[in-house]
């Protein structure tokens, strides 16, 4: 167990060093959400009316959450590339704790997500978003976002362990992330959606985290009758716990017996 932590830290350092040599690696959690903030704030914000509130206050939690979900696609691509380049085989031939390869990677991903949150928060403040309820709820919201990012990164790891090419990872990432973050209350209230989509959106884990953040940052929270929308913080915690409880062991299991074709 001691080695598991030490080895995870060694692997995490590897991924954090990547940021220095490959700053574009952070674009998924920085530039893309920043573009979303400005684009939605000034383009859609001019047309979308949020009942009882300000669109920018409504928008920022959505962008935060979407960027956390997007990070799972980048970790998926990282896993696929490590498998294709033989780096995974090298790790697996070492007398190290094997799970550390994955835990270190998701840990580093968490740090990247944290940097992304800082970048987005700064942009949010520029366009007029304000956390209104004080320090504790604001930090709680950031903590919830990181937890969601961590949970989603395990989904990305698990999916990545089944893929053979980075093109596949890109395609799957798109197919996974788009519906997850758009069939949700991320950018528009769910009230106007067709009944089936609205039901999916209201139970989508993304929506739970978005609503929880809207509550914790303060501002208008459009009413939705579904249970996860009535208890968003609890629902978010349950969703994250469930995702980690499912995908962490599944990923480690898959990694231990992942055998490439030759």
């Amino acid at each position: 167990m001691g080695w598991l932590l030490a080895d995870s830290w060694t692997v995490a350092k590897r991924h954090l060093l990547h940021i220095r040599s490959m700053p574009e690696k952070l674009s998924g959690v920085t530039i893309q959400p920043i573009v979303f903030v400005f684009m939605f704030a000034y383009i859609f914000g001019s047309a979308i009316a949020v009942p009882g509130g300000d669109y920018r206050q409504f928008l920022l939690p959505g962008v935060f959450v979407q960027s956390m979900a997007t990070a799972s696609a980048s970790i998926m691509a990282g896993i696929v590339s490590d498998m294709a380049s033989g780096v995974m085989d090298r790790f697996r031939s070492l007398p190290m704790a094997r799970a550390a390869v994955l835990i270190g990677h998701t840990g580093a991903n968490l740090v990247e997500s944290g940097l992304g949150i800082v970048a987005m928060a700064v942009c949010g403040l520029i366009v007029g978003w304000r956390p209104e309820l004080g320090l504790a709820p604001t930090l709680a919201a950031f903590g919830l976002l990181l937890l969601f990012g961590f949970a989603m990164s395990w989904v990305g790891v698990f999916a990545g362990l089944f893929l053979k090419s980075s093109e596949g990872a890109q395609g799957l990432g798109f197919v996974l992330i788009m519906p997850l973050t758009f069939v949700a209350n991320t950018f528009v209230p769910t009230g106007g959606m067709p009944a089936i989509l609205r039901a999916i959106a209201n139970w989508n884990p993304t929506s739970a985290v978005v609503t929880a953040c809207r509550q914790l940052f303060g501002g208008a929270v459009p009413a939705a009758p579904a249970w996860p929308q009535v208890h968003p913080v609890l629902a978010s915690l349950l969703w994250c716990a469930a995702l980690v409880a499912a995908f962490l062991p599944l990923s480690v299991w898959r990694f231990r017996r992942a055998m490439t074709a030759r």
Binding site: H18, S21, M22, D89, R92, L94
Partner: protein, 315 residues
């Protein structure tokens, strides 16, 4: 009897319908180099993956330094180094950072990890490039770094899967010298290769692999004797003189040469290459025939395989 460094018995593995390994037996004595020689898809990499605990065999057993690769994988991993077909190093780290990371994963303390990385960079001629990102390295430098990574823990047994495939001749020679140095220092090496000359130069013993089986094994000399010595190649300048050249070669050597219709090259197998070559030159001179190409060469891997597999079919 001392424990063999590597002992495999009856290894079998199938992938779907493909029988990748079909009963492989191998023994490698400590401090020696075994070359696994075979074409792509023969099963060489599968053997390496099983012996390095990356793949479970469907049947058979293998022990590395006395430890079972399936049941005692962790003990095996503490005693081996692996350099795979690709240079499995991190492009976006420096050479030094790659080695330090490896050393830390072998659970060396931070200070010894750094010292070990420095020593290996020095040993493999990468000291000046140690602080550059690996993505700026040439192919040869990457392979050397990859070899360094497999040597971090100074393992008694290393596995090199096609270590020189894709390298330029100079880098290839460098890498050969390093592998020879390892064996001199007492490391057991199992290397796979598609090149007869590589196996010939490095390996004390060679196992020829084809279709997942060991079709022949022995010292390089054993194998070459087995496939019948050297070849003389002759190319006639044009189709008109070809029959005359062919008759001259047959007369000189007392054996009918084979003709490759695509290149127009005649090839004859000879027991004594130099004597055969002189006889062919004399005969061509006497007949007043000019030729485009006249060469004495060792059998190619293709010919070794053809000879070995033909013998199998015959027996």
């Amino acid at each position: 009897m001392a424990t063999a460094a590597i002992r495999a018995e009856g290894l079998a593995k199938r992938f779907g319908k493909t029988r990748a390994l079909d009963g492989v037996d191998l023994v490698v004595e400590p401090g020696t180099i075994l070359g696994l020689l075979g074409p792509n898809g023969a099963g060489k990499t599968t053997i390496v993956r099983i012996l390095t605990t990356l793949l479970r065999p469907d049947a058979g057993t293998a022990r590395v330094d006395g430890f079972d690769v399936v049941r005692q994988g962790h003990e095996v991993r503490r005693r081996i180094g692996l350099a795979g077909q690709q240079a499995a190093v991190d492009e976006y780290l420096t050479g030094r950072a790659n080695l330090v990371m490896m050393a830390r994963l072998y659970h060396m303390p931070a200070a010894s990890a750094r010292a070990r990385a420095d020593a290996l960079l020095e040993q493999l001629g990468l000291a000046a490039a140690g602080d550059r990102l690996v993505r700026t390295y040439s192919g040869g430098m990457r392979r050397r770094l990859d070899l360094a990574a497999s040597l971090v823990a100074a393992p008694p047994i290393i596995f090199l899967d096609e270590p020189t495939t894709g390298l330029d001749p100079r880098s290839r020679l460098d890498l050969w010298a390093m592998i020879e140095g390892l064996a001199r220092a007492g490391t057991t090496v199992l290397l796979t290769t598609q090149y007869l000359d590589e196996a010939d130069r490095l390996a004390g013993r060679i196992a020829v692999i084809d279709h997942g089986r060991v079709v022949a094994s022995g010292t390089p000399d054993d194998l070459k004797r087995g496939v019948g010595g050297e070849r003389i190649d002759v190319r006639a300048p044009d189709a008109d003189t070809l029959p005359a050249v062919r008759r001259a070669v047959a007369a000189a050597l007392g054996t009918e040469p084979t003709l490759d219709p695509e290149t127009g090259r005649l090839t004859a197998q000879v027991a004594d290459g130099v004597a055969g070559l002189r006889a062919v030159v004399r005969e061509l001179d006497r007949a007043g025939l000019a030729v485009n190409d006249l060469a004495l060469r060792r059998p190619t891997l293709d010919e070794v395989f053809l000879a070995l597999t033909e013998r199998e079919v015959a027996s």
